[in-house]
Each structure stands twice: as structure tokens, then as C-alpha cells.
Amino acid sequence: MTDAKHVIVIGAGHNGLACAAYLAKAGRRVTVLEAAGQVGGAAVTREFAPGFRVSACAHFSYLLDARIAKELELARHGLATARADLRTVSLQPADEHLVLNGGTVEAGRVNEADRAALAAHHAAMLKFARVLGRQHHRIPPRLLGGGRSNAIGAALLAWDIRRLGRDDMREFLRVAGINIFDIVEESFESPALKAALAFDAVLGTNLSPRANNSMLALLHRLSGQASGTAGGVSLPAGGMGAVSEAFAKAATAAGATLRLSAPVKQIALNGDRVAGVVLESGETLAADVVVSNADPKRTLLELLGARHLETGFVHRIRHFRTKGMAAKLHLALDSLPGFPRLPAALAGERLVIAPDLVYLEHAFDAAKYGETSPQPALEISIPTVHDRTLAPAGKHVLSAVVQYAPYVAEASTDAARAQLLENTLNVLESYAPGIRGKVLASQLLLPADLEREFRLTGGHWHHGELALDQMLMLRPVPGAAQYAMPVDGLYLCGAGTHPGGGVMGCAGRNAAQAVLRAERA
């Protein structure tokens, strides 16, 4: 095996590990270099207070690709589900809580017309999301040039849209580029229902419900489920870190070498080709191919260096929008918080605080000027309801995505962090009176913290905003959407490439295909 091509994968995020696994399975000599002391990137389980562990960034699994799970035998490598098919509970300040299970309203003050409309809406969204889902395993085509495989790729994409049928195709072309606000306004009456659906669309994005592209973000979220992700929104046993552990085992089982605490300082070049990497420690590793799971800006502008790229390309990369807008809250709780009017059995579902569209819009308005949301919207998980391995007996962990938290210097100070924590706890207290008294420890990660902790430029969960102008053949930027970078032997495999964020594994798999395809060419 010594004469096999040596591939270095920078970053042991789930995509890096998936890429490593596929390349190792194809007989390549693969070394995965991870800066942190554990695998997983942003899909990790960490101890944030003594005895309390939490999925430190992503906290639900909803996009994990079924085909990849099967091909890499993730279950055999230890991946188990603590709880699948989570419902969404939109907490209401004074009214009956809204409980949604896919297209069904299980509880809440929602009239018959809305219930019927939701079923239709959900079915349509799944159908449209499937169009995106079908692209997950494809290397996006270039729109001109690039030969026969590109022409086939473009034709397949067009065919996927066409085969929706005339009416659905029209509707898809109408809604794909627009905003969730208009869609829910034209379809529903219940303010709570509108807001719950709108929040799904803007979760983890730098968008308000009124912003175009929010529909696309929603379709992206649903694309896994629509194309057969088992279990809908689910909690992996042991937290999201367990997903990464399974990917890591799959990679090492396939023969990849994994080195932790080995941060890469620089990607080394020999003429126009990559030669390997230099570690922070000064150690040099030679490689025929380098695949980076780091985000595009970090990979290209920091690890490689703008001077090794051309001006126009650098300009595009610099303007890849990577400003995160979501913070992450972790609370260690003395006991399970009580939500009035919510049956205890539902406390472990996906809880959402976004009571109406104006609430969401106002939360965003503050953040767009670089201010902290006075009343943030929240997506809450209390995983310890289903998974007792995460906290000491009787104690609980609350994990919440907090929106919005702008990535700007003024909003990244200790004072700003304290303010957002206070605002968030106030919101929580109003829905779960007494919760403040149960807090044993807390941690709030602002986008700037996520950037530092998880090496995500801009602190964006998806490595970069998912929008029409940053998806498919435009992700991360035109000229780099086929995983190969304009430096021979360098590839990207992270969420900054097609099909984007979420713990899916597809970018890693596609990048591996791109590496192998280039070898054959």
C-alpha cells in the first residue's frame, strides 16, 4: 500500500471523516488531521459543566444521509438513536401550546382550515425538498463548459424539476427563491402556526422570515427527511458527538489514520500543486492530495493563502457570506424545568419559542444593526429526557439555539454575552417559571465563540449562508463548486460546499468522488 496516493484530510468533522472513509475504502492512504483533542468539528458532545455533557453546537440530527449511513455502516460503528421522530412544540405565552408532528397538528388552537392547509403545505414542501435531496449525491454541474459530465449533471437537475409535473414545477419555480413570510401569510391564519413554520426556515441562518431565501433554507432543512433520512428530527444516543465517533470508526476501520491535536498551520505547495501540509508543531507531512473539511475562507485565505490564488477568485471567496446569527445556550439544570400547560411527556420534544411572526421579525431587526435581540427566538432541546448519559442522575441539560446574535465586534464582548444570556433566561423564565432557580451552570456561545471553538469563520453553523446565490454550482463560489480548488490537488469537503450545512456527510462523500474522478481523468 506504500505506493498508494497519500491523501491528507484537514479536519475531523463528520464530512472530513466521511471523505476519509470513502477514500480509504477506495484504497487511498488517508491521514485525517484534527486540531481539537476530539473528533467531530461542530458535531461534538462536550462537558460544559462538571458531569454535564451536551451537543456543543448542532444538537439535533435531521439530515444524516441514509445512503451514507448504510454504506459506512454507521450503526455497526456504534451510532444509535436515543429518540427519533421528535415533535415540534411551539410554546405559547398564554395559550394552548402548539404540537406539530410533520403535517399534523396534534395540539393547539388551530382551526380546521389551517390543519388542512398544513397537511397540504407539508406535503408540498417535502416534494420540493426532494428535488434538493436528489442533488445531495451529485457533484454540481458547471453551467457552461466542463464537458459531458457537466452537461449530464445540468440535464439531471433540470429533469428533477420537470418531473415534478406541470403545476408543482410552476409552484417550485415560484417559491424556491422567496420568503417563508409570504408563504405562511398566504396559507395560514393561526399566528402561532405561521411563526412555528417560519422559525424552521430561518433557524441557523442570517435571515428574517421576510427575507427571500428563507424558503430555500427551509427546503434544505427538509431535504434530508424528504429523501429518506431515517428518524426525522432525532437525538443520537450520547449526543451529536456520537455521530462523529461513528464516522471516525468507519474511517479508521477502512484504514484511515486519525491524528488528534494536530492543527494544520499551512497547506504546502510545490509549483501549482499541493505538496502536503505543515502542522503548527512545525512537522511537515507530504501528500498527493489535500482535502479540507475547514470552511472555505479558512482553507483558502488562511491555510493556503490568498497569494497562491488569483484575484477574482479571492474576491469571490472573501464575499462568501459567513456571518453567523445564531448563538448556542447550554444550561445545567438541577431538575427538569416545568412548562405550564405542557404535559411532562412532551418536555423532551423539540421546543420552540417563536410565538408570532412579529416576535421573530423584531428579534432579527435588532440583530441586523449589530445589536443583541432583546427577546430572542429559541429552539430548545432537553436531551436528558431521553438520554441519561449526559447528566448526573436527576439532573438535566437544556440546549438551545438562540436567535439572533450578530457576528460583530460590539456584540461579541463579555458584556454582550452577559446581556444575551440575561435576555434569553428572561424569555425562558416567562415560559418555564422558576427555571432560573434551577440553573447550576450556564454557557452561552456567541457566533464569535463558535468561530473560535469550532474554527468556523464568521461563526456560521453551515460554514456559510445557504441562499440561492450560495448553493449548488454557486457554493461556495463559482469556480470552486465541484470540490476541486484552483490549486491542483486541493479539495474542499465541508459544509461550505454543496449540499451545505447540517450533519449529512454528503459533501464529504462527493468530495471523495471528485478526488477519485480526477485521478481517473
Binding site: D272, L301, A306, R307, T311, F313, H315
Partner: protein, 406 residues
């Protein structure tokens, strides 16, 4: 800089006088001017033929001040320029000037210009078009600073066989020893008030000649010194028309005439690569990454779309904007003339032209279809033309060092 130019009242003076304007205006007997960016420059002063004759027989002065000038400094200045332009900048030693072109990522030429390596790590980039935005865009990742200094430097092109003699006469001792593309500095006596004059042996005429660089406050004394000492050497001012003749004879390209700057092209396919402008010699693939490198390597493999040629055209009808055909009369259009003139020095009918590949190979028949007017009557001729290599007029004095007095 004219102090008005940076104030909100700048609109009052749409076009500004150059630092030499007092003198050029007095000499511009025809009062013929045109606008060059922020400034006004003379088209012609008294007689284009005589102005041109001065370039080739005595010496002529052209007010070059409006040319865009950028200063580039900082530890990464050389690395930055090397990534920017297609040639190897490390070969332009301090005290030397290099002609260079720069491309976009598609390998299409944005502009051409000269790089002055003033002192180690300290460069001046001169070009026809403004480039600050592109330079700053390109500077990301480099420790480099850049400023536009167009308005802070007065500049004259001083060209012709007696130019060296005149410079010696105003006090540039040893200027004759400057080799082509050398830079020299001279302390001048008398009216120049002891200031230092930078002289580069460069120019746009293809003849012996220099370019003179100084602070705007010393512009008029410099002009006066040249005309005082130059009188017996036949000095004359020249306008753009005379310069245009000389540069076509030299076979030099001009942006917006012979090529469309890639960053300003509405239709990208109308821009040209260096190979398509016969500037392949300025592309150095031996150095590492530079803008356009990947596209140009690809172009070398795939072949270029156009060939840029210098044509000698039969007859004496100037082939302005002529179509080039591959056969007499009923042939197919294979290209267009970009610049054309009757060459007074080579005594031939010359043109620069862009031809579709593969036309312009040795042995290819080429015919120019020329429309021209005499006494308001239009005529058309179809005449053969021939591709020639190098400049149409290339006197040995252009390169001879030490430079002769005439």
C-alpha cells in the same frame, strides 16, 4: 493636485490643467485639446507632420502628466506585483523599469503599463487606465500599501534623437550612459532650483527618448530649461496625434484602441489574452502563481482565438477600421485593423490588426478592404497585406548606449 479637485466644488472645473498647462497652452496655436481622465492635453500644437518630424529627427516633448501612477510599497511589494502581472518582477532590479501586462482570472488583459523599481521594495506602476481598485482587490493577503499619485507627479515624455543632448545641456551629467529601461537621478542647476529630476530611458515612440519625472511645483522650470537649452537642438512640443503615429510605427499597443480592457468589457469575449495580443513574451510560466496563470496554461494547450499582427498594406490608403479578408474580394472576414497609419519614416502603409485564428500564418493571403474619402467622395480598395515581425521603424539609436547627441 489641483486643490479644487478634492472639494465639492470640483464640478466647476470639469477638466483640469496639468502642471505644464501654462506653457502648453501658450504653445498650442491650434487650440486643439482633448480630455484625458481629469486633465486636458494637446492633440496638436501647430502641425502634426512637423511635430512628428521632431520625434524622429530632433526632439519633442509630450505632457504625460495625466497618466495614471500608483505607488506600491511594503515588505510584500515584489510578491504582490509578481502575482499581479504576468512577467517575473524580480528581474526588474532597483533602478530599472519593466513593461508589463496584467490579466484577470480568465487570462484576459486588463491593461498594460510600466513598473518602475524606484528603490528596493518601492515601485511605481504607470498605466493608461486607473487601477487602484484592482490593485487593492489584489492586495488581500499581502503586506503592501498602495496609493494613487497621478496628481502628485508631473511627467514629460521627451523623445527623439537629440533628446539626450538636451538633457546633458540642462545639467543631467552622464545621462547618456542610461541604458534602455534605466532610471537616473540628476541634480539640476539654475532655474530648476536645485531640485532632483528623475529620468527614465523609456517612451512610447520606439526612438531614443526619455521620460522625466518631477514634483508639480518644478514642472514649469523643467519645461523652461528644456526649451531654453533645446532650442538649438530643434525641440518642439508634440500632441497626441504625432505620438500616435510614432507608437504605431513602433508597433506598441494602446488600451481601448488595440484591445478592450477586460475589466471594462461588457461582453467578456471581446477582451484578449496576452497571446492574442502578441505579448506572449511577457508571460512567464516559470514563476509561481499569478493572475491568469491557470487560464493561460489552458489556452496554451487549447490554442488561442486570435492572433495580433503587424501588417504592411499595399498602396497608400490608410487602412483605418478596415476588415481583413483571406482572399481578394469574395473571401471571408478573418480580422479587423485596430490601428493604422501611413508611416512617414518607414515610407509604407502600416497597420496593427487582430486576426481570427488560424489566420496570419506565414503564407496566408490577407487582403484589406479599405474605405476612404476624397473630396467627400467615398472610395473602396481591396489590397493585399503582409504580416511583418517587430517594429515598422526601429532605428539603432533607440538602444545605443551611450546615447548619441543626434
Amino acid at each position: 493636485m489641483n486643490p479644487l479637485m478634492n472639494q465639492k466644488e470640483h464640478f466647476r472645473t470639469a477638466v483640469y490643467p496639468t502642471p505644464f498647462h501654462e506653457r502648453t497652452a501658450a504653445l498650442n496655436k491650434l487650440n486643439l485639446w482633448h480630455r484625458w481622465k481629469d486633465y486636458t492635453v494637446a492633440d496638436a500644437y501647430f502641425n502634426v507632420a512637423l511635430e512628428y518630424a521632431a520625434i524622429r529627427n530632433a526632439c519633442a516633448v509630450f505632457d504625460l502628466s495625466p497618466m495614471t501612477k500608483h505607488r506600491i510599497t511594503g515588505p510584500d511589494a515584489e510578491a504582490f506585483l509578481n502575482r499581479l502581472v504576468t512577467r517575473d518582477v524580480s528581474k526588474i532590479k532597483p533602478g530599472k523599469v519593466g513593461y508589463a501586462i496584467w490579466c484577470d482570472d480568465n487570462g484576459r488583459v486588463i491593461d498594460d503599463g510600466t513598473i518602475f523599481h524606484l528603490s528596493p521594495g518601492n515601485y511605481r506602476l504607470c498605466s493608461q487606465e486607473r487601477q487602484l481598485e484592482w490593485l487593492e482587490r489584489s492586495a488581500f493577503g499581502f503586506d503592501v500599501r498602495m496609493t494613487e499619485e497621478t496628481h502628485d507627479v508631473a511627467c514629460l515624455a521627451f523623445q527623439g534623437p537629440t533628446s539626450c543632448a538636451v538633457l546633458k545641456a540642462i545639467g543631467c551629467a552622464g545621462v547618456e550612459n542610461l541604458k534602455p529601461f534605466d532610471i537616473g537621478y540628476f541634480k539640476l542647476p539654475g532655474p530648476f532650483a536645485g531640485g532632483e529630476l528623475m529620468v527614465s530611458r523609456t517612451g512610447f515612440t520606439g526612438d531614443l527618448g526619455y521620460e522625466l519625472w518631477t514634483d508639480p511645483s518644478r514642472a514649469l522650470p523643467l519645461w523652461d530649461a528644456l526649451f531654453d537649452k533645446g532650442a538649438i537642438h530643434g525641440i518642439r512640443p508634440m500632441g497626441t496625434h504625432a505620438l500616435e503615429l510614432a507608437r504605431i510605427e513602433a508597433g506598441f499597443l494602446q488600451a481601448h484602441v488595440d484591445f478592450m480592457p477586460a475589466d471594462q468589457a461588457i461582453h467578456l469575449d471581446r477582451s484578449r489574452s496576452p497571446f492574442e495580443l502578441d505579448l506572449g513574451r511577457l508571460v512567464d510560466f516559470k514563476k509561481p502563481n499569478f493572475n491568469g496563470r491557470r487560464a493561460l496554461l489552458e489556452e496554451q494547450k487549447r490554442g488561442s482565438r486570435y492572433r495580433f499582427v503587424r501588417l504592411e498594406i499595399a498602396g497608400n490608403k490608410v487602412a483605418k477600421a478596415a476588415y481583413i479578408y483571406n482572399r481578394e474580394h469574395k473571401g471571408q472576414v478573418v480580422g479587423t485593423v485596430t490601428s493604422a497609419a501611413w508611416s512617414p519614416s518607414a515610407k509604407t502603409n502600416i497597420a496593427l490588426a487582430s486576426l481570427h485564428m488560424p489566420w496570419g500564418r506565414p503564407g496566408d493571403e490577407l487582403w484589406a478592404d479599405i474605405y476612404y474619402q476624397r473630396e467627400l467622395q467615398w472610395f473602396r480598395v481591396n489590397v493585399p497585406c503582409k504580416v511583418v515581425e517587430g517594429a515598422f521603424f526601429d532605428p539603432p539609436r533607440r538602444r545605443a548606449t551611450p546615447a548619441a547627441d543626434f
